[in-house]
Every structure is written in C-alpha cells, then in structure tokens.
Amino acid sequence: MSHKFRIFQINERSILVEFDEEINENLLNHLLYLKNKLLTDKHELILQVINSYNSLLIIYKHTINNFYEAKKDLLEQIYDSKIVNILDSPIKKIPVCYDHDYGWDLELLSEDLSLSVDEIIKNHSEAVYTVYFIGFLPGFPYLGGLDSSLFHRRKSQPRRQIPSGSVGIADQQTGIYSLDSPGGWQIIGRSPIQLFDSENPTRYCYLQAGDKIQFEPITKDEFEDIQSQFNYNKW
C-alpha cells in the first residue's frame, strides 16, 4: 500500500489507522481488504474493526500494553496487503418512490439546483453507488457515487422525525434512513424495504460496506405493494 497514513492510539484498547487521502474506491478497497485480513489473522487479539471513508478503528480485546509492538504488527499487515478488487459484488436494486409525499425536499432541491424533479430522479437513480460504511444508525449506509449535479448541503435545522426508508442527500453523499430518526439530510424519496431488522438474527443488516446498489424508481402503488409484502414475509 502506498498511501500516506498515521497510526494513532485512541484509548486503552483502540488504535486508529487513518489515511491521508480523499474519498475514493481504491482506498475503500484497501481498507476493506485490510479489515478482513486483520479480523482473520489477528482474531485472537482483535474484537471489532470499523471502517469509515479513510480510516480503520481497531478495537482490541485487551488493554494495549505495548503500543510499539501493536503498531509494528499493523505496519506489517499494511505493507503486506495486496491490491485485490473486492468491490465487484452484484448490484443490489433498492426500490424508491420519489413521490412528493415521500420526497419532502424535491421541490427545494429542484429550485436550488436548477433541475426539474424528473432530472433529479433520473440523476439519482441512474448512478451505481458504493456502500462505504454503515454508521449513524444501525443499518444506515453511507453511499458514495452521487452525481455532482445533486450535491446539496444538509438542512440548517434537523427535522425531529424522518421515517425509516427515507432517502436523503447531504453534501456529496446519499443515504437511506434505516430507522425512524431525527436527521438533517435533504429527503428526496422513500424505499419500502427494511434495511435493518433486529428480528432476523442471521441477516439483521441488509447492506454492508463494499456493496454496490442502484435505486429503482417505483410508483406509490408499487411502494405500498412492496411494503405490505415486506411486512408479510420480510422481503
């Protein structure tokens, strides 16, 4: 790996490896490769590894008594990592209804971005997105790959309640609220599928870092159909 990085001890049991680079898929590919490698090769020492756009947080099972030792270990793992493309998973289709009843901020974005609502829907649903990581809420995917015509800052005042399934835009990112939650993203539609289901212990999280997804526009009727099927047999 040729990226510049730093290895930083956060607390008694955690180390942050942070790369000095812009958000991009090559870096994500490296991070996920390294994450899997650490979890496989060092599973007796490591509890959890969390990736974000440009860093890995490594939580150890026990207090780190010798930081230099741990750092040396990590350096070996980093320099030893190969470039393997692990981001070639099949594209998951996520149905989204861009009706005004669900896309609360479509009009606002249309005005601010000088695009028609149809153009917003087209630009949003044509792109293929990459799940960089899950954060903010259980099951909430941070998606990269948003068309630059749709970049828009967050709301200055977050809304108190955004319904689960809502699809939003914040700066260069798009994402899906996996649960009902307060939030400040600009809402352009809603998906009837459930991204997080605590009652499904084997697959409680529908998406994971590295997945590829694409939004599929659906009508309000289709939304309701899928939602009722979902409630019936959990997709």
């Binding site: 290895i7 008694e12 955690s14 942050l16 756009y53 259980p138 909430f140 997080f196 605590s198």
Partner: protein, 286 residues
C-alpha cells in the same frame, strides 16, 4: 419468577457489559454507564461479571419482587426503601415474595444498579441484554415484568466495601483525540488548564459541556467514534459521547476520556465542575 415495575422513575434500562460486535453494522456498544459500580453490584452477589442489572437514573424507580432472592443496590449515596423502611445500599439485601423496593432519590451521582442473584433475564441481541432502541426494548415501562431465578440459599460471602474514594476527584484523565493537534496552542492550553462544567443535557448517548471554546476547526470526513470521545461542534460546543454513542461522527474528535474517566464522568451531575488531565498514550507518525 419476576419483578413487576410499579413506577418507572426517570430512565431505567437493563444493562450488562454491552456488545462486542455490531459496530460495523452501526450498532452502538452500549452497556452500563458506570462499569465500576455495575461490576461492584454483581461482585457483591458473587454473580458473573457480565450479569444483567437494572440501571436507573437518579430517582423514582419502584419494583415489586414475587419470589425470594438476594439483591444489591449499588449507588454512590442515596435513599432507598424496602417496604417503606430505609435500607443500606451497596450491601446484600434478602428479598421475600411481595417485597417492594423504592429508589427514593440519589444524593450523589446519576446512575445506580440493581443486581439480583444470578442476573436478570431478558432478550439479548448480539450477545448482550443491554437495552438500545431498535434492538431491544427502549426502557422499562410500568407493569413490565423482568424474569429472574428465585434463590433461597444463603447469601454466601462477606460483602465487600465500595471504594468511594474512586469517585472523589474532579480531575478526569483524557488522551489526545485524532484532531487534537489541529487545535491552536491557546485552545490546547485552555483544555489542559481551564475548569469546565457539565450542562443539563445528560443522557446515555452524550453529556454536553457547558462552556464553549471558539472553534477554528472544520468538520471532518465522517470517522469512527467511541464512548468517551469528545466531539467539538462548529458552535464551539464540546460533547462527550457516552455508552450509547453512534459509531461514526463528523465533528472533530479532540479528546478521548480514559475508561475510568467515563465512569467518573457518568456520575457527575449537571453543573458539576471538572478539569481535564491530559495523558500521553498515543504517539503518531505520518
């Protein structure tokens, strides 16, 4: 065998040591706010270290037991009633069928723990019974029943004494956060020398610090955070993330509380004053 929740108090949940997996799926670690006190409560009864306890906030929780057992109610200082008579906290209490416990009020600290012999039983998610909205129940509600195995043996060991000296400090150990170095010398100096106080905004997700420091930092690319991370908002507010913290955040992470300091901070009430004691743990190299 179960307890029946007669009054919920301000905020009561089931907590254990929290989750050791799930962060990559956005699931918080959770677990007892004050691990030291939670562990003491279990230790008194000879329970396993990770037995589930009831955690409560300050006052008003009332419980009725339907079968015999032993319990320990661990608090820093508080008025606790067993069938309307004041009892001692941090000790072994024998419970008969029909006994009622009322947490009248805590005199010191925010959080207390009720441990029962062999732990409370409740639904677990990813190996932990810790309540977290969306995974389990959110908090205890009136008339909830929480299961435990009745116990009629002897209490066993002598009761250890809670070391209250642990809590008698207003100096909290912190490490530099990943963005600490980006702060000006003046801000770094202020953090290390000034006195701060807690605002009234306190919950299991975060405690806010009252004083504001003029922020010179931009937001960061969303990155991982942990319980004990101190975030620094664009308005200059400092937010100490607690056990139910989200797993990622976009505000600069300027400080990180030590494990012990999270316990101490959790028990500090609104308006309490404290100082940061910056400790070198991390060495960085680019």
């Amino acid at each position: 065998m179960s307890i029946n929740v007669k009054q919920t108090g301000l905020y009561a949940t089931i907590q254990d040591e929290g989750r050791t997996e799930g962060m990559p799926q956005g699931i918080p670690i959770s677990g007892a706010m004050d691990f030291n006190l939670y562990r003491f409560a279990n230790h008194v009864l000879g329970n396993k270290e990770n037995s589930a306890c009831i955690e409560f906030y300050q006052q008003g929780l009332k419980l009725e037991f339907d079968s015999p057992t032993f319990i320990c109610i661990a608090v820093l200082d508080g008025e606790i009633l067993l069938n309307d008579e004041q009892i001692e906290s941090n000790s072994i209490i024998k419970i008969k069928s029909g006994d009622q416990i009322l947490i009248k009020q805590l005199i010191e600290g925010n959080w207390g723990y009720i441990a029962v012999k062999d732990g409370f039983q409740s639904g677990a998610f990813l190996g932990s019974q810790s309540f977290y909205k969306a995974l389990t129940q959110h908090q205890l509600k009136k008339s909830d029943k929480i299961i435990y195995v009745s116990y009629e043996g002897v209490s066993g060991a002598d009761c250890p004494i809670l070391n209250l000296e642990y809590y008698k400090t207003s100096v909290l150990d912190v490490f530099k956060g990943p963005e600490f170095q980006k702060l000006s010398q003046t801000l770094q100096y202020q953090l290390n020398n000034a006195e701060f106080s807690l605002s009234t905004s306190q919950n299991r997700m975060a405690y806010e610090i009252q004083e504001r420091l003029d922020n010179e930092l931009e937001e960061i690319t969303t990155g991982p955070v942990l319980p004990g991370t101190v975030q620094y908002t664009p308005e200059g507010k400092m937010i100490a993330l607690m056990r139910d913290a989200q797993v990622t955040g976009g505000y600069p992470r300027i400080l990180q509380f030590s494990e012990k300091a999270i316990n101490l901070l959790s028990q500090k009430r609104a308006k309490s004053k404290f100082k940061f004691n910056l400790i070198e743990i991390n060495l960085e190299k680019i």
